[in-house]
C-alpha cells in the first residue's frame, strides 16, 4: 500500500486539491448540520403542538361545557396533526420546506384546510434548501471536475507526462489516481453523512442506500471526467467540456424536463381545490337547506333517520354542506393526486437518463420527504379527519348533547416518527447505470497517453 501513501502525499501537498477537499468536507458537514438543526426544529415544533393543542381543547371545553352543543365543539375545536421527520430527513428536506408538517384541522371541509398552507415558505420552493442533497447533486460534481479535469492534460502541460509514462503504465497510473481522488471525495461526503445518521439514529439500511447513492453519483462524474480526459484535449478544453456537462445534466436538462412534464401532465394547484371546495360550501347558503340534506343523505344513508331540520341554523346542516363541499371536488382531488403521481413516475423514468434526478429522487425517498411522503401525510390527515366527523356526527344527527366526559373521548391524532422511506429496486437499478459510465471511464483510462 505504499502507493497510497505516495499518492496521498502528492495530492494533499497540492494546495488547490487540499483546499477543494476541505471545502467539500466543510460544505457536506455544514449541510448535514443545517439539516439536523432543521429536523430538530421541526421535532421541537411538533412537540410544542401537543400541550398547546390540549390547552386549546380545554378552552373550548370550558367555554361550551354548559351548552352541550356538539356543533360548537365541532366548529371551535382544532385537532393537531403532524408529520414527524424521518431519521434520514436531515439529508434531503425536500417537500417539508414547502408543505406544512403540522396542520390543525377541524370537522369542517377538509380540502380547504389541506391546501391553506400550500404556499408556505414559497421562497424556499424557488431556490431549495441548503441540505446534503443539494451539496451532493449540484456541488460535488464541481469538485470532481476540479480534481480530475487535468488528470492527464495537467501532466502533459507541465512536461511530466513522458517521464511518467517512461516509468509506469499510463492506465494503471491514471486508475490509481482516480481511485484515490474518488475515495477522498467519497470520504468528504460520507463522513458527515455517517456521523449525522448515527446521531439521528437512522437505520443501517438507510445508511447503506445513501452511501450507495453517493458512491454511484461520484462514480458517474469520475467516469465522465475520464471519458473527457480520454479525448486528450488541453486542460482548458477538458474543464469547459465538463462544466458544460454539469450545466446540462444538473441544470438545463432537469429544468427542461420539468417544463415538459408540467405541460404534458397539467395538474391543478391545491389552492384551486381549496377554492372549488369553498365555492361549493359558500354556495350552500344560497340553496334550500332540504336540498342539501337530501344530497347528503343520498351519499350518507346511515344518517337518514335524523330528525328534520328545525327552523333556523343547525350545525348538522352546516357540517353536511361542508362534507358535500369535499365530495363535490372528490374527482378533482383524485385527478390532482393522479397528476402529481404521474409526474413523479415520469421523473423516476427521467432518472434513467439524468443521474442527478435519480440520485435526488432516491435521497428524498430515503429521507421520506418526497411527494409520496407528502401524499401519505395527507392520507393520514384525511383518515383522522374521518374519525373527527364520525365522532361528532352521532351527537349532531341524533341530537345528543355532548358532555365533558364525551368530549374527553374525542379522537387524538397519533403518529410516531416515521422510519426512513423504502426504496424500490428499479430506482437503485437506475442509479446502477452510473457505475456503467464510471467503469467505461476507467476502461478508457488505459488509452490516456501521449497522443
Amino acid at each position: 500500500m505504499s502507493w497510497l501513501i505516495h499518492e496521498l502525499r502528492l495530492i494533499l501537498r497540492s494546495r488547490l486539491s487540499l483546499c477543494a477537499l476541505l471545502l467539500l468536507l466543510a460544505l457536506a458537514a455544514a449541510a448535514v448540520g443545517i439539516g439536523l438543526h432543521e429536523v430538530a426544529r421541526q421535532h421541537q415544533a411538533i412537540e410544542r403542538v401537543g400541550p398547546l393543542q390540549e390547552q386549546d381543547a380545554a378552552a373550548v371545553a370550558a367555554r361550551y361545557a354548559d351548552t352541550g352543543d356538539p356543533g360548537s365543539h365541532a366548529y371551535y375545536t382544532f385537532y393537531g396533526t403532524w408529520d414527524a421527520p424521518s431519521d434520514a430527513a436531515f439529508l434531503a428536506l425536500g417537500l417539508r420546506d414547502v408543505a406544512p408538517f403540522v396542520l390543525r384541522v377541524r370537522a369542517l371541509g377538509l380540502q380547504s384546510q389541506l391546501y391553506e398552507g400550500e404556499t408556505f415558505n414559497p421562497e424556499l420552493a424557488l431556490s431549495g434548501r441548503f441540505d446534503f442533497a443539494f451539496v451532493l447533486i449540484y456541488l460535488a460534481p464541481l469538485f470532481v471536475i476540479a480534481l480530475l479535469h487535468d488528470l492527464v492534460s495537467g501532466e502533459r502541460q507541465s512536461g511530466r507526462l513522458r517521464l511518467l509514462l517512461s516509468i509506469a503504465d499510463g492506465g494503471s497510473l491514471w486508475r490509481r489516481r482516480v481511485a484515490l481522488r474518488y475515495a477522498l471525495l467519497f470520504a468528504c461526503l460520507a463522513v458527515p453523512v455517517v456521523a449525522g445518521m448515527l446521531l439521528s439514529g437512522a437505520s443501517m439500511a438507510a445508511m447503506g442506500v445513501v452511501l450507495a447513492v453517493v458512491a454511484s453519483y461520484l462514480a458517474f462524474w469520475c467516469g465522465l471526467s475520464l471519458l473527457v480526459a480520454a479525448r486528450n484535449w488541453p486542460t482548458v478544453a477538458n474543464a469547459t467540456a465538463l462544466m458544460g456537462g454539469w450545466v446540462l445534466l444538473t441544470l438545463v436538462l432537469p429544468t427542461l424536463a420539468n417544463v415538459a412534464l408540467t405541460r404534458a401532465i397539467p395538474v391543478h394547484q391545491g389552492v384551486d381545490l381549496m377554492l372549488a371546495q369553498r365555492q361549493a360550501v359558500h354556495g350552500a347558503w344560497e340553496i334550500p337547506r332540504e336540498d342539501t340534506m337530501r344530497r347528503f343523505y343520498d351519499s350518507h344513508p346511515e344518517w337518514r333517520h335524523s330528525a328534520p331540520l328545525p327552523d333556523g341554523f343547525h350545525w348538522k346542516w352546516y357540517l353536511a354542506f361542508h362534507q358535500l363541499g369535499d365530495e363535490s371536488v372528490a374527482d378533482e382531488v383524485s385527478a390532482y393526486r393522479a397528476g402529481l403521481q404521474a409526474r413523479q413516475e415520469w421523473t423516476a423514468r427521467l432518472g434513467w437518463l439524468l443521474p442527478g434526478v435519480s440520485a435526488q429522487a432516491l435521497l428524498h425517498r430515503v429521507a421520506d420527504t418526497d411527494l409520496r411522503a407528502q401524499l401519505d401525510y395527507q392520507d393520514r390527515i384525511a383518515g383522522f379527519h374521518r374519525e373527527i366527523r364520525q365522532f361528532y356526527y352521532p351527537y349532531l344527527f341524533e341530537d345528543r348533547p355532548i358532555g365533558a366526559r364525551d368530549f374527553a373521548d374525542r379522537p387524538v391524532y397519533e403518529a410516531s416518527p416515521g422510519p426512513s422511506g423504502s426504496v424500490g429496486l428499479h430506482a437503485l437499478l437506475a442509479l446502477g447505470l452510473c457505475w456503467g459510465i464510471g467503469l467505461w471511464g476507467v476502461l478508457c483510462a488505459g488509452r490516456l497517453g501521449l497522443r
Partner: protein, 261 residues
Amino acid sequence: MNADTGNAVTASAVDGGVEAGKGAGNVLEASSVEAGYGERSILRQLDLRIGPGEIYALLGGNGAGKTTTLSLFLGFVEPTAGRVRVDGFDPVAQPVQARRRLAYIPENVALYEHLSARENVAYLLDLAGQYEGDEAIDRALAAAGLQGSAFDRRVGGFSKGMRQKVAIALALARSVPALLLDEPTSGLDPQATSEFNRLLDVLRDRGIAVLMVTHDLLSAADVADRIGFLDGGRLLEEVAADGEDRFNVRALHRRYAEQAA
C-alpha cells in the same frame, strides 16, 4: 578531447559496421527500423546498437528523428518495420519489462514542484514499483551530486541542473541498464554542463548504456564513446572515440555542418 588533431577521429558508415556495444550484448538495439507518425515517415532503416557502459551521442538537426528514436525505445512509437529491443525486451510488446530496464530524462526535467527532491524520487520510484526506502534514495541523490541540504527542499526552486541531478538520482536508484537523455545540456551553463558530463562518466562506470540526443557537439565530444549523425531519419555516419584525445572536434563540426547543409 583534442580539437586540433585530426588523427583521433575514426569514422565509418553504419553499414560498414562500427563495433557496437562493449559488453557481451547490446542494451539498446534498433535494427532496420522504420517508424513515423501516421503517413509521415520519420525514421528510415535505423540501425543503432549501444552496449553496457557505453555513451552514445546522437546528433542531428531539427526534425532529423532524434526524439523519435528516443520514443522508439520508450515504446511511445511503434516501428512499422525492423526491431527494437531494450535489454532484450520489445518496448511495445513487453512494455513492463522494457520500462523496468530504462530510465529517461527529458530536456526539461519537470517534477512535482510542491514535493521535495527526496519525495519526488520516492514517488517516481514507487510508480516504477522500485521504492525501497529513503536511505537508497539519499544515496542516489548524493551519487548524483545533489547537496544534502537540497534533499528536503521543494524542487519548485531548483535550477535545471539540480532537476537533472534528481532525475539522474532516480535512474541510479532504479539500477536500470539503459538511460535515454533528451538534450541534457541544453540551457546549462558551462560549469553545469561539465558537472553533468562527469555524472555521465559515473553512469558509464556503473555499466549503464546511455543514449543522448543533443545539438551540443562539444559536450557530446567530451563525454560520448560514439557519436552518430542522424539526418532525415537515416543514421548517416558514426564516429567512435579514439585514443586519449577521443574526438577531433573540428572534424566533427565540419561533418555536422555538412550534414546540416
